[in-house]
Every structure is written in structure tokens, then in C-alpha cells.
């Protein structure tokens, strides 16, 4: 219990210290920095010409596909982390099943990768 509290206290305090230091930097900058606002200066940068059209439009669809791919493999990683320690422990107790189960799972995942590869999911442009 004591380790648990100390661990998470350190993590929480690190967030506070990081945020505090950065806010200190921002305050110092606010106090010392030059402030000469003008209408032109606050426009969006676009190579020196006035910004054209709508900013958040026409994003390549590929970004979403890679996002979904990442989700699949991240769930996989969540499975693997606890398994990394458990399968040895279980094997020492005479239960080799977790090892074979994960190997089966990885084999299925391998087929998924090969299928996606053949389908051209990993290509940026078709």
C-alpha cells in the first residue's frame, strides 16, 4: 500500500512540478516579452499571402486507416504486457497453456498482417 501511494504521489507531483515550471516560464515571458500587436501580425501564416479557403478540410483518408491499425496493435500490446510475466510463472507451476494460447493468437495476427499487406492497407498510395 505504501509503495502504491508513494509511486502515484511521485507521478502526480511530477505533473504539478512540470506544469508549474512551464507556467513560470510563461509568466516570465508575459512580463518581459515585447508586445506590439497588429492586425496583420495576428493573421494565419501561409507563405506571405493571405490565407485561402477552409483550414480543416480535405484530409487524406490514409491517416484514419493507420489510426485504426494502431488501435488493433495497441490492444495486442495490452494483452502482451501482463502475459510476459504470467506465462513463465504458469509454466513453472506446470501449466504451459498460456504460452501456446498466445502463440496461436500471434499466428492469427500474422495472418491478419499478411492479409492486410496483400490488400494494400500498408501502402500510402495505391
Amino acid at each position: 500500500m505504501e509503495t502504491f501511494v508513494n509511486d502515484w504521489m511521485a507521478v502526480t507531483l511530477s505533473v504539478l512540478v512540470g506544469a508549474g515550471a512551464i507556467l513560470g516560464l510563461f509568466i516570465a515571458s508575459f512580463v518581459f516579452s515585447a508586445k506590439r500587436k497588429s492586425k496583420i501580425k495576428l493573421t494565419t501564416y501561409e507563405c506571405g499571402i493571405p490565407s485561402e479557403g477552409f483550414t480543416w478540410a480535405n484530409i487524406n483518408f490514409r491517416f484514419y486507416i493507420f489510426g485504426i491499425l494502431f488501435l488493433i496493435f495497441d490492444v495486442e500490446a495490452v494483452f502482451l504486457f501482463p502475459w510476459a510475466l504470467i506465462f513463465v510463472e504458469q509454466n513453472n507451476l506446470g501449466n504451459p497453456l498460456p504460452f501456446y494460447a498466445m502463440m496461436m493468437f500471434l499466428l492469427i495476427l500474422l495472418f491478419a498482417i499478411l492479409y492486410g499487406w496483400r490488400k494494400g492497407v500498408f501502402e500510402w498510395q495505391k
Partner: protein, 373 residues
């Protein structure tokens, strides 16, 4: 009196003091890295680097920092103000949170998270991506949006090999405790046991901190700084700070996980650790001065067709090694086999056009010879 205020109060005070020390240590380190990078890159490009400010230009990073604080902090009218303002804070806090559990020696560590150190490093490292995407999205700039999305795509793709290397190290060592992992390397550093793991970790680490050749998401010559394009002054300085803290973190993790950490003869352990870290950092700067930038399609293809399958191969190798209790060199042999096969395939793939041209030329030559006869 202190004891009456609660059982954890003293612990909290000592943790707070060590965190503040850590932050100042990181700030000094970042200054040294900035100077080292400018000097090393200058020498690699046959320039001198900074020379005017102080001896050997040593005061240059301090001058830079003062300049950045004095510069005007512009928030464009079009920007989503809150997102724009918060994004750099997210990036730097995630970079700083990593350092809670990274040990510099067994005793110099803020709080060694014994049950989840490696897992924590993998989990917290990803939060920075969110900040980059928010920065690009919030600045309402086309370059920013493109850069933010590229950052998301690149960083999440290279996160998977990184996590898989963590998993394979956890399988081999049977612990998530970083101090324990370093202690287990005292006879044989893991670079000899898992050469494949080292290569995967180093390459995906380079990609995670956006070092050349993986700097497509803020490529200055293409999308003029990507997510950082609208930032200036203190906000930009924060991005800069977190980039260098992350570079230092990746170099430190490489040393801790693969190069034997602080172990070494004669010198004190912290000196050995810093020597190894700076050697890895100089390697990173050398790569930056040598290699050109990868295109986005090459980048994604390399991540998903080379790095991800190889990292799964590594996990399977490690679990087989532990399950059947093989000798440690078996892992080395499997690692080098995997690296060799992939190397040959990549070499064949890269040289395929050249071999095709040579073949056509040879056929033409034969044709001409037969016509002359």
C-alpha cells in the same frame, strides 16, 4: 510536528525536492545538448558552429533561451485559443513524467516504480503525440494541420515496435523494474543478447523524437515547421525543451536497456552512464548530419512492413527462449538471423531497379553485337 500532519507528508516533501532537482538537471542537460548539437552539426558540415558567445560558443544556448523569453508570444486570431495554449504544456509534461522512473544510478531516481517501470515509460511516452496533434489542429494553419496529422501517423506507427521491444525485454528479464533490468546486464549487456532489439529500439526511438531521417512531420523545407509553425516566444521554447528532453530520454533508455546502464570499471557509475548517454546522443546527431529525410510513404511502409513484423518476430523469439530455457547465445543467433534476412530483402528491393537497368543494357549490347556480325 511533521509526523502529525500525515504519514506521507515527509515523503511528499522529499519527492518534491527531488523533482525540482530533476527539472533543473534536465534544463541544464537541454542547454548542453543544444550547444553540442550546433557544434557537432557545424563540424559535420565543415562549419565552425557557434564561436562568438563565450569560449567555444558555450553561452550560445543561454543567449537563445533569453532571446526566446524576450520574444513576443503571438496567438493568431484564427487559432483555437485554448487548444493552442494548452498543447505545448501537454507535450512537455509527458516528456517530464517519463523521468519520474528513469534511474541514473540505483540511488539517483525520483521514485523507482518497481512493479511497472517499463510499462509506465511505454504508456506515458504516447501522451506527447496528443499534444502535437492538438498543436497542429489548434493553430488553424494548413501546414499545422498536415504536420499534426503526420506526427500522429508517424508516432503511433513507430510506437508499436517500441512497445514490442519493451515486452521482449520484460519476457527475458521477467521484471518491469528498470534498476533490476540494468543489474541483470552485469555480465552480458543486452546489445549482445538482443542485437535485433537494439536496432528496433534505436530506429523507432529516433522516429519517436522526430530526429532526421524521421522528421517529416515538422520538415522545415516542406511544411515549414508543421505543428510548430504558428508558435513563437515562450510557447515555441517549450516545444524545443520537450524535444531535447525526449531525445535525452531515448538515449538514456537505450543505455539502460541495452548498453549495460551505469556498470563499468574504475569510474563512478554516474560518470559511466553519462559517457554512454552522450555517446548515443552523438550517434543521433551524426545520423542527423548524414542521412536525408524519408518520404511519408517510405516512412509508413518501413514502419508497417519492416519494423512491426520484425518486432513480433523478436517477441516470439524471446518467449521461445524463455519457455524452452535455451542458452543466451541462441537468442543472439535468432536475432542476427532475423536482421540478416530482412537486410537481404531490403537490399534486393532497393537494388532491383539498378539490376533491371543492367540487365536491359546487357541485352542491348548482345543485340548490337549480333547485328554487327
Amino acid at each position: 510536528m511533521i509526523a502529525s500532519t500525515g504519514p506521507y507528508f515527509q515523503d511528499a516533501i522529499s519527492t518534491l525536492i527531488s523533482l525540482l532537482t530533476l527539472f533543473s538537471f534536465l534544463a541544464v542537460t537541454v542547454l548542453s545538448l543544444v550547444w553540442l548539437e550546433r557544434k557537432a552539426l557545424g563540424r559535420l558540415q565543415l562549419r565552425l558552429g557557434p564561436t562568438r558567445t563565450g569560449p567555444f560558443g558555450l553561452l550560445q544556448p543561454i543567449a537563445d533561451a533569453v532571446k526566446l523569453v524576450l520574444k513576443e508570444d503571438i496567438v493568431p486570431n484564427e487559432a483555437e485559443k485554448v487548444i493552442f495554449w494548452v498543447a505545448p504544456i501537454i507535450v512537455v509534461i509527458s516528456a517530464f513524467m517519463l523521468w519520474v522512473t528513469i534511474p541514473l544510478t540505483p540511488s539517483i531516481v525520483v521514485q523507482n516504480l518497481e512493479n511497472m517501470g517499463l510499462f509506465y515509460v511505454g504508456a506515458v511516452g504516447v501522451i506527447g503525440i496528443l499534444g502535437l496533434v492538438l498543436a497542429g489542429w489548434g493553430s488553424a494553419n494548413k501546414y499545422g494541420v498536415i504536420g499534426g496529422l503526420r506526427a500522429a501517423a508517424q508516432l503511433i506507427s513507430y510506437e508499436i515496435p517500441l512497445i514490442m521491444v519493451f515486452v521482449s525485454i520484460a519476457i527475458v528479464t521477467q521484471t518491469f523494474n528498470l534498476v533490476e533490468i540494468v543489474n541483470l546486464q552485469s555480465p552480458v549487456p543486452f546489445i549482445l543478447v538482443l542485437p535485433l532489439g537494439f536496432v528496433l529500439f534505436f530506429v523507432s526511438g529516433l522516429a519517436e523524437v522526430g530526429r532526421t531521417p524521421f522528421d517529416i512531420y515538422f520538415a522545415e523545407s516542406e511544411i515549414v515547421g508543421g505543428p510548430f509553425v504558428e508558435y513563437s516566444g515562450a510557447h515555441w521554447a517549450v516545444f524545443f525543451l520537450s524535444e531535447y528532453i525526449n531525445t535525452f530520454a531515448i538515449a538514456t533508455l537505450t543505455v539502460l536497456l541495452f548498453l549495460g546502464g551505469w556498470s563499468g570499471p574504475f569510474l563512478p557509475s554516474i560518470v559511466w552512464l553519462l559517457i554512454k548517454i552522450y555517446a548515443v546522443i552523438l550517434l543521433i546527431f551524426w545520423i542527423r548530419g548524414t542521412l536525408p529525410r524519408l518520404r511519408i510513404d517510405q516512412l509508413m511502409a518501413f514502419a508497417w512492413k519492416v519494423m512491426v513484423p520484425l518486432s513480433f518476430y523478436l517477441v516470439v523469439c524471446c518467449s521461445i527462449y524463455v519457455f524452452y530455457g535455451l542458452p543466451w547465445w541462441a537468442l543472439t543467433v535468432m536475432s542476427i538471423f532475423g536482421l540478416g534476412v530482412v537486410g537481404v530483402i531490403i537490399y534486393q528491393y532497393i537494388t532491383a531497379p539498378a539490376r533491371k537497368v543492367a540487365e536491359v543494357r546487357e541485352r542491348l549490347r548482345l543485340l548490337q553485337m549480333s547485328q554487327e556480325e
